[in-house]
């Protein structure tokens, strides 16, 4: 079986797998590579995990938890004004950007490798997307309730749209060699789009398909 108590060693295996999976890709990584990274026998991995897929699942879960920790760090209902919400979005953006910049492997794992392992892991990624969308929706819903966001906002859909912007930033970090300089530009662009719009003041952009 794969139940063992030493949590430190279990964590170190996940650390190694996180790094090696990101470096070589899940498929190209052998359990021996992970064990080799730690200098332990590869049989040992099987004392902590059922199988290779189980390692990947744990790596993914831990990665998603670290992302969730940032997303859920703020209190959605505490915000009382548009300015407060704007500041909140900036803070979350900062923290996410720093998270992905500090661990380049993170993005490779959640945006590329681990979603391709099997249906179950893809499902977990989707579920995480849903959860993150729920959180964003809570912020928006709070804003609508407090009156500083538009009353006719499609909260659920807009939450996903907003998350799309934010996670595109995270993906960008993963793709870019030296992502730090881009951080402030990125956050500023997201926040400006959300709160200032792209339109020049005085322009009218309603098309015939727009909301009535």
């Amino acid at each position: 079986m794969a139940r063992t108590a030493d949590p430190h060693r279990r964590q170190s295996i996940l650390d190694a797998a996180h790094s090696v999976f990101a470096r070589k890709g899940y498929a190209a990584t052998g359990i021996a590579d992970v064990a080799g990274e730690l200098g332990i026998g590869h049989g040992t991995v099987y004392r902590y995990f059922q199988n290779k897929r189980d390692v990947a699942a744990a790596v993914l879960d831990r990665a998603l938890e670290r992302i969730a920790a940032v997303v859920t760090a703020e209190d959605a209902t505490a915000t009382r004004s548009l300015a407060e919400y704007r500041a909140q979005v900036e803070r979350i953006g900062h923290r996410l950007y720093e998270l992905f910049a500090a661990d380049r492997a993170l993005g490779r794992l959640v945006f590329h490798d681990l979603g391709a392992v099997d249906d179950d892991l893809r499902e977990r990624l989707h579920a995480a997307h849903e959860t993150f969308a729920e959180y964003t929706a809570a912020y928006l819903r709070n804003g609508v309730a407090k009156g500083f966001l538009r009353a006719d906002l499609d909260v659920d859909t807009t939450a996903r749209v907003v998350n799309g912007m934010i996670f595109e930033g995270a993906a960008q970090v993963t793709r870019t060699d030296d992502p730090r300089p881009l951080r402030d530009r990125w956050i500023r662009a997201v926040v400006a789009l959300m709160f200032d719009g792209i339109a020049q003041h005085g322009e009218l952009g309603r098309s015939e398909h727009g909301p009535g």
Copy 2:
């Protein structure tokens, strides 16, 4: 390289691979599965493609071309007003949504499986991201030049932000069982965010970190 010319057979192999890769995942798919889908001998696949990875590369390229065809269908410089640009974004959104809704496999391939095959294919995906960002940037640059978009817009970054929203919609389609009903909500949410903002009129959202 492809050793043989018959483009019909080659296309049918790519069709089958597109479908089977999306259904089972690249790693879990054997060349025999692809050939079996067509009722041809698996050796035949090797008359048209060097190896399995080569099939995946061709599937990815074709998928990206189909997306690019939608993205590049509009003329960025033709737009003369905010209303025209808004209509353009709506049209592109429609077409992309329909593309991904009509072929559920497409999203699975470009958002999950084929980016995990190897470094080269991941690189091609990144390059496509860049290309798409260039296109969006051209729209924005045109708007700034014509004066209907904000003069201080960070065009390159905003282009990526906008693409993030749009492709999150495509990813959403891929995840959702019956995506059609969501189409108009999605497009409306994106367009509203870009052109109307989320703020209630009269609210002021400038934080201390915001621009100017």
Copy 3:
């Protein structure tokens, strides 16, 4: 079936196979390589030969015939003196050496590749060895009968020993980059060994195990 009349094309296929088999080795050579050398379709080869092994068999037979033509060029019973036999050995040595030097592929085929194809071809090689031994034995027997070779000569065994020397020369040609300069040294060494012995005159070399 594999019976076709055009003997010229059949020969050209054998020429190509002779050359390609020697260059790449039998196992590493594909029928397509042989056909490609001639610029003909590889299906065509099967109109002249049953299969790949059949090509190898024909190549081997032709090679052995060319060797046999040299070996059998002289008349064993015509020799009347030791000097005549010595001259005969020199002539055969010259011709064999030239044969293998003119066609480096020949040695590779008969000494290496084609004997490893299967049991049947190895058997044909052995049979050729036997035939060649018969020829050499005929010379020796003639010499014993005519009285210029030792009466107690073990003709059959000595014939093989002599052939061993001669074919080692041929193998040497195959191994050496520029074999021509060695030709005369080689022939002189063989002839000297056979007719002059290696012993210094006056030395006695009979051991206790030697013939009584």
Copy 4:
């Protein structure tokens, strides 16, 4: 490289490969055949050898070492007279004959199969030929120096000629069903040729091409 140390298992794999390669031929032998001969899993072979070719190379090297052990067992410089050298040649002949008679596979491997595997193995065979020629040359050189062999002997070439005779005997053993009865005839024929010559006493065999 060999990944594992257990020399016993490694040797047993070489033993099995030696036998199966000789029985079926290298090309027709699968790694599964070798493993099956030992009753081990075929994956196990890959713990001791990189690949099939690597097994063949090790089999060849070991075979050549066994032959070399016989060739190098005598001390070339110890011989002081023609009779001693003659005895030496007889001993080496005996040992080689016994070696090849005791292991019929040996000859098939070194004379047929393993030289056809690829260029590298053929090269190793050639190198072994050279080494063996060096040894024989050392004997001859010693004899010339000590004055019991002809002063005008072409030592290097004659060494190859002598080896040709000797290895033809070994090849003969490999081809013959019951080789033992031939052993003494063979050795006697070689030794007689070298030390007594084939000419009837009193005959003169100098041709016009012979040494002056």
